[in-house]
């Protein structure tokens, strides 16, 4: 299993995404992270362990407390691809927009004559006027 799959499956869970969302604002204790959820601290710890294995968070000890911190590296990797993918399609679609303007201009006289225009390669019809 490659790193990307690990990252994506770690963020596949809504609770884990909320935890990451909270950690974007800064480090938090395990207790603080558990607070907004109606699940046991044990369940939260499982999610945190998952995120830790995926290297999305780092845990450190301060006295009796465990402090969690976001490590955005793996997500940045996903974001980089997502960005490429978006850019690819957005730029293609913008080019398609311009091309369609051209295509519409050429098409207008034709579509006024025969609105459905189902087949491009239809044999010319013989008209009986």
């Amino acid at each position: 299993v490659d790193a990307l799959t690990v990252t994506l499956s770690a963020v596949a869970d809504p609770t884990r995404r909320s935890i990451l969302d909270r950690l974007k604002r800064g480090p938090a204790t395990v207790g603080e992270l558990a607070e907004p959820f109606r699940i046991s601290q044990q369940a939260i710890s499982k999610h945190l362990a998952y995120l830790e294995r995926a290297r999305l968070i780092e845990k450190r000890r301060e006295g009796r407390q465990h402090i969690c911190e976001l490590n955005s590296g793996p997500l940045a990797e996903v974001a980089q691809w997502t960005e490429q993918f978006r850019r690819f399609w957005e730029e293609s679609y913008e080019r398609l927009d311009s091309f369609l303007v051209e295509l519409k201009a050429k098409d207008e006289p034709k579509s006024r004559r025969d609105p459905p225009a189902r087949k491009a390669k239809e044999a010319p019809r013989v008209r009986k006027d």
Binding site: V11, W81, E91, Y93, L103
Partner: protein, 164 residues
């Protein structure tokens, strides 16, 4: 900048979905998407060209595009058409040369929206691992320094989960 195209990348499903409305009737959007001489006018990043663009538009027919980047490197991909419903629906397989083991199935639907056309593209991989393999391969295409898009990414992921 990205407001016009809606992207959905569900973290727990091997799909990617794009939705975009074009200001042209369905028939023209269909033609622009299925005729090679049209496709090569718009497909790809700005500054790229299609050095090969072949479309055999029938069920079982093959298609192949080769995208030439501004630095001269080329990226080929292609597949086979599975289903063609003119002006409505196009189903075909998609394989990127860089990730030959990860074949995806793409479904493009064209819907009338008061003279405009809503085009929905769903890319479906056979597994999350395969989608991510394509993700990894795609990262090599014109890879550049990563922006800090973390917030945006999390929003996309959350939205994907919420819409299901």
């Amino acid at each position: 900048v990205f407001a016009r195209t809606e992207f959905t990348i569900p973290p727990d499903q091997p799909t990617i979905v794009l939705r975009r409305t074009f200001d042209a009737p369905r028939r023209l959007v269909w033609e622009a998407s299925t005729r090679p001489e049209h496709v090569e006018r718009w497909f790809g990043f700005r500054g790229t060209t299609l050095s090969d663009c072949r479309i055999d538009l029938r069920a079982g027919g093959a298609w192949r595009f080769v995208l030439r980047m501004p630095d001269g490197t080329e990226h080929g991909f292609g597949g086979v058409y599975r289903e063609i419903v003119p002006f409505e629906r196009l189903v075909f397989t998609f394989v990127y040369d860089g990730a030959p083991g990860a074949e995806a199935v793409e479904t493009i639907t064209f819907e009338d929206r008061q003279g405009k056309t809503l085009m929905t593209t769903e890319v479906r991989h056979t597994s999350l691992a395969n989608r991510d393999a394509q993700v990894a391969a795609g990262m090599e295409v014109g890879a550049r320094e990563s922006d800090d898009r973390l917030a945006e990414l999390l929003e996309t992921l959350s939205k994907s989960a919420a819409t299901r």
